[in-house]
Symmetry: C2
Subunit: 96 residues, 2 copies
């Protein structure tokens, strides 16, 4: 739980999680984003950070359980874990 809050306690990571609510707003890709998630390259481009930073941001969000990663060929696609996010919201409202 602390890990999730740490992950959200960064403006860019918080923004990324918000962007992922509209996967279609990213440029098109081989496999549709609504299906497998958004390709790291597109996230990196929108965030305006280096490739390694983008990769680490997503790894942090993933370790926090807020996103999942689907690897297709050479692409890593990231998607919100809506269940985990909703559960976290519940915890904040009820158990924190």
């Amino acid at each position: 739980m602390v890990a999730a809050f740490k992950a959200l306690g960064h403006p860019t990571r918080l923004a990324i999680l918000g962007w992922l609510k509209e996967p279609e707003s990213f440029p098109p890709q081989d496999r549709p984003a609504a299906e497998v998630g958004v390709c790291l390259k597109h996230i990196q481009a929108r965030a305006g950070v280096s490739q390694s930073t983008a990769s680490q941001f997503m790894a942090t969000l993933q370790r926090a359980g807020l996103v999942t990663c689907t690897r297709v060929g050479q692409w890593s696609h990231y998607r919100r874990d809506e269940d985990a996010i909703a559960a976290l919201g519940q915890k904040v409202a009820l158990n924190v």
Copy 2:
């Protein structure tokens, strides 16, 4: 919002917020904790940190809007801001 997550992204601060759900579980004080909040000294004692660290923890939680402070005489009492916490939970579940 980022500030709130940063504040929660620390195990001790997160624990304190949880403790404040049961103000009665703290030692008795002049003014009842259920009314004005828990005295800083009691929070400090339970957290096992120095006085200055406890003070800064509560200041961080206060700046994040998660607790309110009621000063009575020489005592600072801290209380959860239930509305703000519930609103944050809503945001996590819906808007993040």
